[in-house]
Symmetry: C2
Subunit: 457 residues, 2 copies
């Protein structure tokens, strides 16, 4: 009998899994693969959405890695869009599928189930939250709707000052739209330490983005037409023709939870290092799962395309009969806001304390190239190390052209639990157009190592 793999969610995690399974089991008479997605697009770059909204990318097709037709032609994978999987019956080994347009339902059997349901945007549960003109930016469909809804818009309020919120804010500025970012925290990008995020706030303000920090959204004011007119945040009323929700997202676990599949303490679907859920023959990957944080050793949900692709690949190899594992995550992230590059990995000061680490910090100002070389740009590098052992705990980088990608060296060092002292001997590349003779990352490591040697002073 033909075995059937059903994939729920046809984006990065689901389709990586499907493709890898197919690589190992080439014949459709051996393994049939069907992928359902409630949206209108398969396998797209969610991280590209802000650039579609801002206009740096003008063709929505450019964000689509593979269409359903390509999956069918090249991989014999049957991708069915606008089909929502509404229930899983683990005993009967079936999923219930509803057509988004029309509402017809059917029951489809599976042998292997791949859950890649992604995440759902967090929306403040306040009056007016169902007004028109309030946009999420979770799916490519959301992105297209937002972009197409910008005609005539003069004022936008972005709720949430995280990566996506700021990227969308920049997109709005690029389009000449007046934009305000409102956030509960004291500064944008809470994934950075306050000293670093202050630099981001300053740059954002310099771009003409208004920041309303330390404010909680209490209501959306709507007009007679049901469209949003303003965001109310504490004693502020922020007029808005359009609102974007960039507060964050939570793992979309409803389907798994209702099927009786175990969730982890962080709220994501619990998986082992091979991406197996608690249910036999059911796998999960991507934004909906919980990952192991390699520094804090705690379960975390970190929604990133890189993890989704890697986890999906691991699940697919295992489903296909191979062996692969996903060891965990470091929380590496990067973004570019106009010409400001921002990156982080591992634990920030707050997270280090929460994970029980007593740490030292080193912050250094340097340049992306040799100081005397034309085009040298400022770069601020911060490293955190455990006070007692000198073990690297995390890093943050803010700078101009050529700054941020250096975080990958910090991430790779972190992966191997290096001490800041040991990092000093890393044989990194040097030539005047690329770095000072001591790369900024190494200068920061040296300063941190000196603090550790002095007992953390």
């Amino acid at each position: 009998m033909v075995e059937r793999m059903v994939v729920v969610g046809a984006d990065a995690a689901g389709m990586s899994a499907a493709s890898q399974a197919r690589r190992r089991r080439r014949s459709t008479s051996d393994l049939e693969i069907i992928a359902f997605d409630r949206g209108s697009y398969s396998s797209y770059s969610a991280c590209g959405i802000p650039y579609l909204v801002g206009g740096a990318v003008d063709d929505v097709d450019a964000l689509i890695a593979r269409t359903p037709e390509e999956f069918r032609r090249d991989f014999d994978i049957d991708v069915r869009l606008r089909r929502e999987v509404t229930a899983v019956d683990l005993d009967a080994r079936t999923v219930r599928v509803r057509e988004v347009d029309g509402g017809d339902e059917e029951t489809v059997g599976f042998d292997t189930l791949m859950i890649a349901t992604g995440s759902v945007p967090v929306c403040p549960a306040v009056p007016g939250a169902d007004a028109t003109g309030i946009h999420g930016v979770q799916t490519l469909g959301d992105g297209v709707a937002l972009r197409d809804g910008l005609a005539g818009v003069r004022r936008v309020v972005v709720v949430g000052g995280g990566y996506i919120g700021l990227e969308i804010a920049e997109a709005m500025v690029t389009r000449g739209i007046d934009v305000t970012v409102v956030d509960q925290g004291p500064a944008p990008l809470r994934l950075l330490d306050p000293d670093m995020s202050a630099m981001v706030a300053e740059a954002m303000t310099g771009l003409g983005i208004r920041l309303e920090m330390g404010r909680t959204v209490t209501a959306f004011e709507t007009g007679a037409d049901g469209a949003v007119r303003a965001v109310v945040a504490g004693d502020r009323r922020l007029p808005a023709d359009l609102v974007v929700l960039g507060i964050g997202a939570r793992p979309n676990v409803a389907l798994a939870e209702e099927a009786g599949i175990t969730l982890g303490p962080s709220g994501g679907v619990a998986v082992d290092h091979r991406m197996r859920t608690s249910a036999d023959g059911v796998w999960a990957a991507g934004d909906c799962v919980e990952s192991h944080h390699l520094v804090s050793r705690k379960p975390v949900v970190i929604a990133l395309g890189t993890h989704a692709n890697k986890q999906g690949r691991v699940a697919g190899i295992n489903i296909g009969g191979g062996y692969a594992t996903f060891p965990g995550v470091l929380g590496t992230a990067v973004t570019k806001l106009c010409d400001l590059e921002i990156a982080r990995t591992g634990l920030n000061a707050h997270e280090a304390a929460a994970a029980g680490f007593d740490h030292v910090e080193a912050v250094v100002e340097s340049t992306t190239r040799a100081g005397y070389f034309p085009g040298a740009q400022p770069i601020t590098t911060k490293l955190l190390a455990e006070r007692r052992s000198g073990r690297l705990l995390g890093g943050q980088i803010i700078g101009r052209e050529g700054a941020a990608k250096r975080i990958d060296v910090v991430a790779t060092a972190l992966w191997h639990e290096m001490t800041v002292e040991a990092m000093l001997n890393l044989d990194l590349s040097y030539a005047p157009p690329f770095a000072p003779v001591w790369d900024p990352v190494l200068i920061a490591a040296r300063k941190a190592a000196e603090k550790v040697e002095r007992g953390g002073v």
Copy 2:
């Protein structure tokens, strides 16, 4: 009694050692430090010389990290330029010092000796090699002399197609000078594999640089005034108003050797992991020493400013009473030729074979940013892995803006003896302005891992 540290060579290695020793022994009544250099500059960026010659950097002072006055003021280090140390007497614990201008000599005692004599350029032992107009580019003095000798020069021949040779060739093109590079090998940059160096050759030719590969210089033709007029290479006569020697350099070990200090099999001064030579109280670092190659596990001489700084730092910490080690090198190197970025680390195919590794290769074409993102540039990434184990052996990258610094991730992975399979899970940063969702390095690792899994086919 005051202890005295004598440093021979006041550039990266020597002055790093002196500064670190001073950091730990602050008082001149405890430790006196005297550094001698036969040249006219202290602590400069030798790697910046091509940019001085090309005019990207126009102030020679910009290349000097610290002047003798600054060393005296900030570190209580006595730097004496244009003083050549001509002999070391290990029994008497003295060095013989000759004034370059004037020839006066003196004998100076030491308790600790730091040998940082650098390297000397290789010059073909052929007729006419002593002609005027033939320039080395080893020291900042050489660089200034070369730059100042360019007035009226129309045709330059660069002998040697390594990094420095090509950087100088680019500098000449920048100045509108007709330039030919002649080299014995089949392609420039022999540190790369032929498939990669062919790309460099094509780019160099595109810049208008003439390459005369596979040719050995047999003579320098000189005019009646003793100035070079042409380079004779096999059956070719290459007219030249000026010649630059970029063939390479060998460790400058004469002083150490004559003193009876042990040299290693590679020809550099032998040192242990704390940078101690065979002689008690005598240390060495930089271009003149032999290093341990962490992949081949063989002794090598690799003249790079990064190593010089690191080794000098380690020696200085140890001399100052601390404890530090230098584990070895990977041979990481990077250069930029116009807008072409070129980098390598670890072993290339030839070196892997010589070290006894049976290897597989993966070469991938990708982009520096998400393919759809404005400014995405081509990048070719090559990784070598051991066939049997999948252990990473080396990497090479050629591409445009944003390509080359990725070699640092390969270097850090190599440092930890990662397999290409294990590299796939590295939590590297991703956002569309910085990388495709699978970074080019990871795409190459994936392709290599697939080859290893298939048994190397």
